[in-house]
Amino acid sequence: MATPDSAPARNPVTTGSTASPAGSGVPESGSGMRIPRPQRWSVPFSDRMNDQRVESLLATPAFSKVDASRFPPQLPLHGVLKNDTKIRSFEEGDIIVREGDYGNSAFLILSGKVKVVLNSLPARLLGRRTSEKKTLFGSIAQLWRNCKVPEARSLAANTLELENRATAQAKIRVGRESRPHVFVQDLSHVMPAHHSVTLAEGELFGEIAAIGRTPRTTTVLAEGDVELLEIRWQGLRELRLFAPAWKEHIDRVYRQRALNSHLRETPVLSYLDPDAIPGLAAQTQFETFGNFDWTTSFQKLASASGRERVEQEPLIAREGDYPNGLILIRSGNVRLSTTYNHGERTISYLGKGRCFGLEEILHNAGNPTPIPLRHSLRAIGYVDILVIPTAVFEAVVLPTLTAERLKDLGLAAALPGKTVEAPVEADSKLGADMLEFMVENRFINGAATMLIDMDRCTRCDDCVRACASTHDGNPRFIRQGPVVDSIMVANACMHCIDPVCMIGCPTGAISRDSIQGQIVINDSTCIGCSTCATSCPYQNIHMVPIRDMGGSFILDEKTRTPIIKATKCDFCIEQLGGPACVNACPHDALARVDMSDVDFLSEWTRR
């Protein structure tokens, strides 16, 4: 594993955004326009934060005891508060944090109270799409109910006042910040039916989802007028690194709420006595790598060479280093690579729940000739990892791993006396070209990536027609995309494991379906802001102007510009037969593939 001395990438502060120009081939002088080099805080979180506001924040109990001298000169506490936070105001019933959303910030209550709803609120209250399978008659009725006009919507649903739109109880209003957001009407009537906890001034919420890039686990509503300090994840990371009290708080909450259950779900720890898990959790370190909003950096690197792109990925562990801990991938994807001449060759990719360094640790336990890590590990996008130190692993976990259990775990090669060989990894199953292509373009993020075998596809477009027939005459994907080894990755929503499109949706209109897990858009609460479409790294969300049933564009009454909505593949979540595109292909050329299932992917591409 890379040590702090040898690999600055292990320090999350330095990861992701800095790149040395050395050797990049860029001339030192030129005739182009000259600008100051963009810095970490060139674009602050809010323009409204000024020195006066920061001073008043520093006087609050949450920051008054923070030792500002512990912050490095380039990242002062004052700067963190000024550039990585903003003050938000909410009114009674406003949804601040919505269960299931992906957020990139935490909230500190400056004044007022909020209600944390402990049990799930109904989707209609949250402004979410409620997906129900169509009845048989409803399915057949699509034959005559499908509209001939593209992207037609019921005029009644779109000409009402903004506040009255959306669903029965969840409404959209433009709040004090001039941003439309969803609120719950009659909070006092709704809440008695749900268990909730009240948080008051000085309390923090949303920090675990922000740092761990996990969905919000609860919904938080404003109880009366509330003023909050929203801290974006970069600022939260700095506070955790340089303010011990903040670190202690965040780590304690993380260990209590998330770490124990995650460790329990890890196969290699499944033989541990349940009582030993909290002790193990106490000694487990957790770290994050890469950018939360990795879409921007990914798009910037689109024209870069494969080597440059790999070098931009933060290094988590380096080939040849001593394995000083077992790395568990908690969220995100990592690239497993090995040195090949002057570059790095991808061996495989690992996702949530997989571990790294286990074979080496098992081999080295009590072995006089230890081996180093055989591969490097790099973060693809945003990665959240746990590290169980080798000494702790050897003392706590190793005694539970008998030879038989190791065989059950598929680790027979790591049994004492056996030589550790390179495992049969994805590159030998998929082929090096395909693997590099899937990893570099980050298609491995897909849970339902649309792949088309171009050697079988007759270009009949039955898939597109089927998609249109099941979506009121509007196809929700484009049968085009990059091709590798005669496999096309079509422009269709991949229902990503890490859905960056969901970050920043102001009304929560785009969400993960709570039952089936697909990413769906609630057309009623979509305000057409294009945040999701801009965030999608694969350009699989399309903004479309909507029309009435007569074919005329529905216009904004103030600006006279067409109302636009985000549209994308919903995996035919409401259709009886599942995804129409797959079912419609007569030649078995099209499949929706969970990219974490390398075995299926390799079998499908090599059939």
Binding site: T458, A584, C585, W604
Partner: protein
């Protein structure tokens, strides 16, 4: 994930075995009917018509993608293997000789046309896609005219640049005398897909022979021009291949509809004379 999506070989074996068993059963049943002096033609004809109607339902299924009617690929497998059984049944029904009546002769011709167009279509769907993929960039059929226009615009821009930057008319003359006609040329309906395109070969050969007249800048532009000429070849390949993949259905489906109608008439006439209604 569905294993049926990856185990295509196993599926083929399954369908072949089922079809072979069904074929043996059909032959035995037809023999038994003949030996027992039962109206074998009536039974085989009725079954054949039922099979033809069942085969035609495949196209109806395509119009109903929102109903849970199993995968279209399963329907296609059924269509292919039951289609072969229908051919066998047709010969059993006709008694392995050419029919004498006018209507039955027409019916036989239409049946054979549908069967042969189906086999040809199946072969095309297996043969063309791989070649389309290897030909070059995947293009959408409907966008081909637009892309053809784009290629022409890009080529003209290159020629203009060559004329301006090299003060030489070599590439301009080449464009006017050879390339323009090639770019505007569209492969005919009977063009051979993916064969050696003589026109492409000729135009590339001409461009190569002009190399001796190029200066370094012209040579660069000529290399770029060569890429556009290759793009035009891919465009033609995509056009011919995709057109063939669509065309055979335009023959197969209307003929199938005619077959169903003629079969119905034939059946009613046959019943009229055998049962006397």
């Amino acid at each position: 994930m569905d294993k049926a999506l990856t185990n295509l070989g196993g599926r083929r074996v399954f369908w072949c075995l089922v079809s072979a068993c069904a074929a043996v059963a059909l032959i035995l049943a037809a023999s038994v009917l003949c030996v027992a002096l039962l109206p074998a033609a009536l039974w085989t004809g009725t079954l054949l018509y039922a099979l033809v109607v069942a085969l035609a339902l495949f196209n109806a299924r395509k119009k109903l993608p929102f109903l849970p009617l199993t995968r279209a690929s399963t329907w296609l497998q059924f269509h292919v293997y039951v289609g072969w059984l229908a051919v066998l049944l047709f010969f059993l029904h006709a008694g392995f000789h050419w029919p004498h009546g006018r209507l039955t002769q027409v019916l036989a011709v239409v049946f054979m046309f549908v069967a042969i167009s189906g086999v040809v279509g199946l072969a095309l769907t297996r043969w063309i896609p791989g070649r389309l993929t290897r030909s070059g960039e995947a293009l959408t059929y409907e966008r081909i005219p637009e892309i053809r226009g784009d290629i022409r615009v890009k080529v003209e821009a290159l020629i203009t640049a060559a004329d301006r930057e090299s003060e030489s008319s070599t590439l301009g003359d080449f464009y006017l005398n050879h390339l323009l006609e090639y770019i505007n040329w569209r492969p005919g309906i009977l063009a051979t897909p993916f064969g050696d395109q003589p026109r492409h070969r000729e135009i590339v050969g001409t461009l190569s022979t002009l190399d001796r007249y190029f200066n370094p800048r012209e040579r660069e532009l000529a290399a770029e021009l060569r890429e556009w000429i290759d793009a035009k070849r891919n465009l033609d390949n995509q056009l011919v291949g995709q057109r063939l993949l669509k065309l055979w259905l335009f023959l197969h489906i209307p003929a199938s509809c005619s077959l169903i109608l003629l079969g119905l008439v034939h059946g009613l006439i046959a019943l009229r004379y055998t049962r006397g209604f």
